[in-house]
């Protein structure tokens, strides 16, 4: 909880500043923020995501100095960055692998919120801001993937902008307005580059609001019981700064593994073929982080219905705080919901698998990927629209500890409450 500020300016200059713009106070309050002491490693992805955003913006700004947004030169300029620009190979790989890492972390962060009920009151606005960040991230990633101007860039952009053409009445003019012409071409590439440069700063601004909202409500925690007594929390620094830094470093090792040893493994080989408007690649597939949504899109034969489903798959997240009727936040104490949650995660992977394959192919036992994606899509929406609303009313949650301190006492390996007063820093 934000609590009241304990910052005391030590010098006259600091006092002077504090009365005019209390920015030092804000930083100090961030560092002393009382944080639930029982946070586990799933709570480290917030810090990891902040790093991801910084890495993407820093590497992106440098790439922007060498990239040429023109249909005749874009592909060649990326090759030039990889071959001739000093450490360009590192910047380009960091940015490309970094996008995948960003999504990996954001999915962990979202699944954490879903499991521990972090979207429930009083954190609805915090959650909605997170959903907005995710939405803008998807737009940014899609726009960025167009820029190298490979075959997947071009045809991915053609397919995605084609969705807008399916909108009734205004669809065709809307699509032309987006593309700046009748097809994906130089005008499209230029505006995509412009927007790709703009949106990360929108993400940064939204992240600022997201963190602000977090500091108003305080962090949720694995037992979902709000902190009540002083022994429930610890100051953010040094307890959680050191824990976050450890997690960030482990995350960076995974990042570095891909960056240095499999830099192109998360992308498509087809995107190293220069875009050719006259030659459609045999399989147009999005990047891995969009595959579940791609599978939902293709789960129905009608184009417009598919698009509505795909948009709905994101939209449903925004209203989730009001769909889940259970007053128990953490799934640790929801014996039935927990299993539906694990099936939900499994179905997300199934959708990802379906998105990567050809719909008519056989998945297993004569079941086509098309049918499989329909089953998983029904579960995806069923989880949010049927299971969570009903389960909250009928499920008998397990008994929850009275407080965080109590939950620590219940586990013998944790410190005693009289000793858990954090030493002042």
């Amino acid at each position: 909880m934000s609590g009241h500020s304990t910052y005391e300016p030590k010098w006259a200059a600091a006092r002077w500043m504090d009365q005019r713009l209390p920015i030092v106070r804000m930083g100090a309050d961030f560092m002393t923020m009382p944080t639930p002491r029982n946070l586990n490693y799933w709570w480290t992805f917030g810090g990891i995501l902040m790093l991801c955003l910084i890495v993407q913006i820093a590497s992106g700004v440098i790439l922007g100095m060498h990239y040429v947004a023109h249909v005749d030169y874009a592909f060649d300029s990326v090759q030039r960055i990889r071959r001739d620009v000093p450490y360009g190979w590192l910047m380009q790989s960091t940015h490309a692998v970094g996008a995948s890492m960003f999504f990996l972390a954001v999915y962990m962060h979202i699944f954490r919120a879903l499991y521990y009920g972090s979207y429930k009151a009083p954190r609805e606005v915090l959650w909605i801001l997170g959903c907005l960040i995710y939405l803008v991230m998807m737009a940014t990633a899609f726009l960025g993937y167009t820029l190298p101007w490979g075959q997947m860039s071009f045809w991915g952009a053609t397919v995605i902008t084609g969705f807008f053409g399916a909108v009734p009445v205004v669809g065709e003019s809307l699509q032309q307005w987006l593309l700046g012409g009748y097809a994906v071409d130089n005008a499209t590439l230029n505006r995509f580059y412009s927007l790709h440069y703009l949106l990360p700063f929108v993400i940064a601004a939204l992240s600022g609001l997201h963190i602000w909202a977090l500091h108003v409500t305080g962090s949720n925690n694995p037992i979902g019981v709000s902190d009540k007594v002083k022994t429930d929390t610890l100051p953010f620094h040094p307890y959680f700064t050191v824990k976050d830094m450890l997690a960030v470093t482990v995350f960076l090792m995974i990042f570095a593994f891909f960056l240095f040893y499999l830099p192109d493994a998360l992308g498509h080989a087809d995107n190293l073929i220069k875009a050719d408007p006259l030659k459609t690649p045999p399989h147009i597939v999005p990047e891995w982080y969009f595959l579940p949504f791609y599978a939902i899109l293709r789960a129905v034969p009608d184009k417009l219905a598919g698009i509505l489903l795909m948009v709905g798959a994101i939209a449903v997240l925004f209203v989730l705080p009001w769909l889940d009727t259970s007053r128990v936040r953490s799934m640790r104490f929801r014996p039935i919901a927990r299993w539906f949650f694990f099936i939900f995660i499994f179905m997300c992977f199934i959708l990802g698998w379906c998105g990567a394959e050809t719909p008519d192919d056989n998945a297993f036992l004569g079941l086509s990927f098309y049918r499989l994606s329909q089953i998983a899509t029904i579960y995806y929406f069923g989880y949010f629209l049927v299971i969570l609303p009903i389960l909250g009313l009928v499920e008998n949650p397990e008994e929850r500890p009275a407080s965080i301190t109590q939950s620590i006492l219940d586990h013998g390996d944790k410190p005693k409450p009289e000793a858990v007063q954090a030493p002042a820093e």
Binding site: L90, Y239, L246, A256, Y261, D264, L266, A269, L272, V420
Partner: protein, 284 residues
């Protein structure tokens, strides 16, 4: 508790790497018609593997004498050949523009330029700073000469196909695989099971009676292997793999340093974490 933390971190990391690698590998291509892809062990595979310089040099010879008649290396300049990690790198010439082997190679190509005095078009021998000049003046000429099919650029080919090294290697060797009735090739087309759809406009290139030549030795005291079809295919793949990913050696060595650095940092942070959180333990 400490062990549990480490175990959880390792599991999380393992799952992340495994799932992402799984996605990456699952997207690899497959080959039809009963052709068994030969998966060669490449010199550059593995955590520390780098390109075999002699193989790259022989591979360049194969490119220059066989592939070059139709395929360009769009993204390569001659000077790249003498870069560190490149086929003709010589430590005596840190600046590849001074490397005599590179100069000689460049001079073998004719480059279209503009006469600075009167603006007329001239043709001059290449210098290391030049890009490999295009084989055809434009795509229309390329298509006209090659029965409508435009020979693709080879400089990123190994990266532009799934398992690109195995793909190119097998493509060179798979021409004699029996053609099934389901694949009908028209005139000017050849059957090749490695190609998507089985049809390819390029005829077999590395045949003993067509493309055979003796490997020249660029370095003294070197004993070049016999130029069999397999040997030539493997060598040209070595060269093209370098051409598609010339920073591989630099990247891997930076990777090793980064991993060691991060490992030590993680260890120190873990110890700091233990120490800071130990303040909360009751004093006995």
């Amino acid at each position: 508790m400490a062990l549990k933390t480490v175990r959880n971190l390792m599991i999380a990391g393992g799952v992340a790497v495994a799932s992402l690698t799984g996605i990456a590998i699952a997207s690899g291509g497959s080959v039809a018609d009963g052709y068994e892809m030969v998966h060669k062990h490449w010199h550059w595979s593995g955590v520390t593997g780098t390109y075999d310089q002699e193989a790259m040099q022989r591979g360049y010879n194969v490119y220059a004498q066989v592939c070059r008649s139709c395929h360009n290396l769009d993204h390569l300049a001659f000077r790249h050949l003498g870069d560190k990690g490149g086929p003709f790198y010589d430590e005596r010439y840190e600046n590849p523009n001074d490397n005599p082997l590179v100069k000689n190679i460049a001079a073998e190509y004719e480059v279209i330029d503009v006469n600075p005095e009167d603006g007329s078009e001239i043709s001059r021998p290449g210098i290391p700073a030049d890009m490999f000049p295009p084989v055809y003046r434009n795509t229309a000429e390329a298509a006209y000469v090659n029965n409508g099919a435009i020979p693709p650029d080879l400089s990123v080919m190994v990266k532009a196909r799934n398992n690109g090294a195995d793909y190119v290697y097998n493509l060179m060797l798979a021409y004699d695989h029996p053609q099934p009735d389901s694949v009908v090739t028209s005139s000017g087309q050849y059957y090749n099971p490695v190609m998507e759809g089985g049809k390819i406009a390029m005829g077999p290139q590395l045949q003993p009676q067509v493309g055979v030549f003796e490997y020249q030795s660029e370095t003294e005291g070197q004993n070049p292997p016999e130029a069999t079809v397999e040997q030539m295919a493997a060598d040209v793949v070595e060269f093209l793999a370098w051409s598609a990913d010339p920073k591989l050696a630099e990247r891997k060595s930076a990777g090793m340093m980064s991993m060691v650095y991060l490992l030590i940092l993680a260890l120190l942070l873990w110890l700091s974490y233990k120490r800071i959180w130990a303040r909360l333990k009751p004093k006995t």
